[in-house]
C-alpha cells in the first residue's frame, strides 16, 4: 500500500490485491495512524479491483466512522469507475503538468537561407522589425509599424503597416496575410500600394510576377 499527499487530499494506492484484503489493510492503517488521517479527504486507487455501489457505500460508512471523507476512487475497472461516478466520486486525478518527452534543441536542422523570426503579438505603430531571414507574425501589423525582411513575410492577422520583403533583392520573396492591406508593400525593389476601397478582407499572397507585384487571393 502506498500513501501520498496529492492536490485533492491523501491518495492511498493498492498494489493489485484482493479487495477484502486491501480493505482490511486500509482500515488497519487508518486505525494505526488515526491522527494523520483525521478529517482527511481520501482518494483510493484500487487498481483492478471491481467494486459495486454497495461495496463503496460500505466503505464510505466505515471511513466516515474514522472522520474521513471519501473523495475519489480511481480504478482500472470500468465497473468500479461507473459505480464511483454514480456515487459522485471523482475517478480521475488532475495530472500535474508534465513536460513532454520531446527534447527540443535549437536548430537541429539548419537550412541555408531559411532562418526566420516569429513575432507573437500585435505590432503597433512605431514598432519596427528588421531581420535577415523570414518574418512571421501572429497578430496584427497596425499602420505605422514596419517589417523589413530579406526573406518572405507571413502575417496571421491584418497587415496594415509597411512591409518590405526580399529587402536584399530576393525577387522570389512573398508577402501573405489574412487581410493584406498594407500602407505600402515592397518586394525587392518593387513598390506597391493597396488599392483603395477594397472589398471584404480575404487571405492574399503578394509576389512578383512579370516585374510587378501582384496580389492574389489564397485559394488552395
Amino acid at each position: 500500500m502506498e500513501i501520498k499527499g496529492i492536490k485533492e487530499g491523501i491518495l492511498v494506492k493498492f498494489h493489485d490485491q484482493e479487495w477484502q484484503n486491501a480493505k482490511k489493510a486500509l482500515i488497519q492503517t487508518l486505525q494505526d495512524k488515526q491522527t494523520f488521517f483525521d478529517g482527511a479527504q481520501l482518494v483510493l486507487d484500487v487498481g483492478h479491483c471491481v467494486l459495486g455501489t454497495h461495496a463503496i457505500e460500505v466503505l464510505q460508512k466505515k471511513l466516515n466512522q474514522h472522520n474521513i471523507s471519501l473523495y475519489g476512487l480511481v480504478s482500472k475497472s470500468m465497473i468500479t469507475q461507473e459505480a464511483a461516478q454514480k456515487m459522485g466520486l471523482i475517478t480521475k486525478l488532475e495530472k500535474s503538468k508534465k513536460k513532454t518527452d520531446q527534447k527540443l534543441e535549437p536548430s537541429d536542422v539548419v537550412l541555408a537561407g531559411e532562418s526566420a523570426v516569429l513575432i507573437r503579438r500585435t505590432m503597433r505603430s512605431g514598432f519596427t522589425v528588421k531581420y535577415k531571414g523570414h518574418v512571421a507574425v501572429i497578430g496584427d501589423v497596425n499602420p505605422g509599424a514596419e517589417i523589413i525582411a530579406s526573406g518572405s513575410v507571413i502575417v496571421w492577422g491584418r497587415l496594415r503597416g509597411t512591409v518590405h520583403a526580399g529587402a536584399d533583392g530576393d525577387l522570389t520573396a512573398i508577402v501573405c496575410a489574412l487581410d493584406l492591406s498594407p500602407t505600402q508593400l515592397r518586394i525587392a525593389s518593387k513598390i506597391a500600394i493597396t488599392p483603395e476601397g477594397q472589398a471584404e478582407p480575404k487571405p492574399e499572397v503578394a509576389r512578383i510576377i512579370d516585374e510587378q507585384i501582384v496580389a492574389e487571393p489564397w485559394l488552395n
Binding site: 503597433r124 505603430s125 512605431g126 514598432f127 499602420p143
Partner: protein, 266 residues
C-alpha cells in the same frame, strides 16, 4: 487607504486628456471617493483652469518635488467637493523639472491619503509622458475616432505595453453618432478593431463640453449633458460597476421610424 493611480494619456494633443482627467476626478468625487488629480503638463498647465481652481493655486508640483513646500500644501481643495484635490503643474518650468522617480515617490505618499490619484499626462511620448505613467496602476488611453489620433494612440499603447503597464483601457472621445451613421467618421468597432484593448468609455461629441470648460464647471456636473453622463459612467466602471453602454443612436426621423415599423425592426 491604498489609493489607485490612474494615468490618462493619448499621444496626440487636443483629444481630451485634460477634460477627461477633470471630469473623471469630479465623477469619482461625486461617487464618494477621495480623489487627487495631478497635472503633469509642466509649463502648459490646464487642469486647474478646467476644474475652475486657477485662482486658488499657491504651490505646485515642482514646488513639492524641489522641497519648497509640503505635499499637503500644494493640494488645492475643490470648491464643490471637499474630497477632491488638485496638485497643479508649474507654469514657469518644463518637463525636466520632475523625474519618473519623483512621481513614483509622490504617488506613494498620496496613496495613503486618497482612493484615486488621477494623473493628467502631457501630449507626446517624451519625458512628461514617462513621468505620468511611471507611478500608474491603470492607464486610460484617450482617442478620437479619427486616423491621426488613432495612430498616436496605437503608438502609445505599444509604449505602455513595453513598460509593462498594460493592458491599457480605451476611452473614445468626441464620437459623433450622426457622422458615423453617414459613414463620415470611424465607428467604435473600427477603433476597437485596430487598437485591440478593452473599452472603458465612449464620450459623444457635445458642445456643452466646450461651454463648461470655459466656465471651469466640468461637464459631468451638468446632468443633462450626454458627455457628462459618459464621464460619470467611466468613473463607475473604474469602481468596478457594470454600467450599460448608453445608446448613441440619433433620434430617428418620423419617416425612418415608420420604415422601421414596416420592416418590423423596432
Amino acid at each position: 487607504m491604498n489609493g489607485k493611480v490612474v494615468a490618462i494619456i493619448s499621444g496626440k494633443g487636443g483629444v481630451g486628456k485634460t477634460t477627461t482627467a477633470a471630469n473623471l476626478g469630479i465623477a469619482l468625487a461625486t461617487l464618494g471617493q477621495k480623489v487627487v488629480c495631478i497635472d503633469t503638463d509642466i509649463g502648459l498647465r490646464n487642469l486647474d483652469v478646467v476644474l475652475g481652481l486657477e485662482n486658488r493655486i499657491v504651490y505646485d508640483l515642482v514646488d513639492v518635488v524641489e522641497g519648497r513646500c509640503r505635499l499637503t500644501q500644494a493640494m488645492v481643495r475643490d470648491r464643490r467637493y471637499e474630497n477632491l484635490h488638485l496638485i497643479p503643474a508649474a507654469q514657469t518650468r518644463d518637463k525636466s523639472a520632475v523625474s519618473a522617480s519623483d512621481m513614483v515617490r509622490l504617488c506613494e505618499e498620496l496613496r495613503s491619503m486618497a482612493d484615486w490619484i488621477v494623473i493628467d499626462s502631457p501630449a507626446g511620448i517624451e519625458r512628461g509622458f514617462r513621468n505620468a505613467i511611471a507611478p500608474a496602476d491603470q492607464v486610460l488611453v484617450i482617442t478620437n475616432p479619427e486616423v491621426s489620433s488613432l495612430r498616436d494612440a496605437d503608438r502609445i499603447i505599444g509604449l505602455v505595453e513595453a513598460e509593462e503597464k498594460g493592458p491599457a483601457q480605451l476611452i473614445i472621445n468626441r464620437i459623433n453618432p450622426e457622422m458615423v451613421k453617414r459613414g463620415d467618421m470611424l465607428s467604435i468597432s473600427d477603433v476597437i478593431e485596430l487598437l485591440a484593448i478593452p473599452l472603458i468609455g465612449i464620450v459623444p461629441e457635445d458642445e456643452t463640453v466646450l461651454i463648461s470648460t470655459n466656465s471651469g464647471q466640468p461637464v459631468v456636473l451638468n446632468e443633462k449633458s450626454k458627455a457628462g453622463l459618459a464621464f460619470l459612467n467611466i468613473g463607475k466602471r473604474l469602481l468596478g460597476e457594470e454600467v450599460p453602454w448608453v445608446s448613441l443612436n440619433v433620434k430617428a426621423g418620423l419617416l425612418s421610424r415608420l420604415g422601421q415599423l414596416f420592416s418590423g425592426e423596432t
